[in-house]
């Protein structure tokens, strides 16, 4: 979304309900994918999506457009919500996505992902094989609409490192998908 459109939508969302719904419709697929890219547990991911929107809604008046793009504010809420989720579960201990986060999470339960089509199921399974840092950066790159520079700031890594992580993670994903029998031909 262009900055001017974002400002219009933000101003509208502060004063009328239809603009807030418009904002919701615009961000729902982005947040939904972002969360499911990062959390393999389907039910937990669904709950987290709700929680993220609840936080966006209740904290909306505290957003200051002059400080950061709306997308950066929204995705920092989503990111912190997921970090809290992993901390609570004791799965991963990290203050930033440094090398200590070089671990993967469990595979999704096959019964939980039946609502997804075959390609989506393969993708979720492949994503769950990536390292947390790779999942984080890929999820932000594909769904936040943020630049590499904004992603780097949010995650706390350098911009050039962000680019390399994206490229290597995509290579890794392709390898995993091919091992699942999914062919990615250009």
């Amino acid at each position: 979304m262009a900055l001017s459109e974002e400002k219009t939508l933000f101003a509208g969302a502060n004063s009328d309900d239809s603009s807030f719904i418009e904002l919701y419709d615009y961000y729902f697929p982005k947040i939904y994918n972002y969360v499911h890219y990062r959390v393999a547990d389907f039910h937990a991911a669904e709950d987290l999506v709700s929680l993220v929107f609840e936080k966006i809604f209740t904290r909306f008046e505290s957003y200051r457009p002059e400080k950061a793009p709306l997308s950066a504010w929204i995705f920092s809420i989503a990111r912190n919500t997921i970090t809290d989720y992993y901390r609570r579960r004791g799965l991963i201990h990290f203050d930033s996505l440094d090398t200590s986060a070089e671990v993967t999470t469990a595979d999704p339960d096959p019964g939980d992902v039946v609502c997804f089509n075959e390609v989506q199921q393969h993708l979720i399974k492949a994503l769950s094989s990536l390292k947390q840092r790779e999942r984080e950066v890929i999820a932000l790159k594909f769904w936040s609409g943020l630049s590499n520079s904004d992603i780097a700031n949010l995650v706390g890594i350098s911009e050039s490192n962000t680019g390399v992580i994206i490229f290597r993670a995509m290579r890794h994903l392709r390898t995993i998908l091919e091992s699942q029998g999914v062919s990615i031909n250009a």
Binding site: D17, F28, K141, F167
Partner: protein, 113 residues
């Protein structure tokens, strides 16, 4: 081709795909082309397409907005006070601060509400 250069070309094309460009041209490298194809596959595999929580959550959010728009007890006290003169305001004045000044652009010139 060195990895850094490959990554640079890939990201340049990827940004255009993410921006919604349909034809981003050839990257002249088989691996990069395959990774760009993977990116398109990921975008097409939008996991939210058939989400069951989207409308339910929207309704929840919307009902909360409506609730917030309703007058709370404090607001109702102010409204009541305006009619009984308890705030010391003049009849027809601002129910919040009691100012008798006429509203300008729908707002009280004294308290701004």
């Amino acid at each position: 081709m060195p990895e850094k250069k490959k990554a640079g070309i890939y990201l340049e094309h990827l940004d255009r795909i993410l921006a919604g460009e349909k034809d981003v041209g050839s990257a002249d490298n088989k691996e990069i082309e395959e990774l760009l194809q993977l990116a398109k596959t990921m975008l097409n595999a939008d996991l939210s397409k058939d989400s069951k929580i989207k409308e339910r959550l929207k309704k929840q959010m919307f009902s909360k907005i409506e609730k917030n728009d309703e007058l709370d007890d404090e607001d109702l006290d102010f409204v009541s006070a305006a009619f009984t003169g308890k705030t010391g305001g003049q009849k027809g004045g601002c129910p919040y601060c009691g100012s008798g000044s006429k509203k300008r652009k729908g707002k009280c010139p004294n308290c701004g509400i």
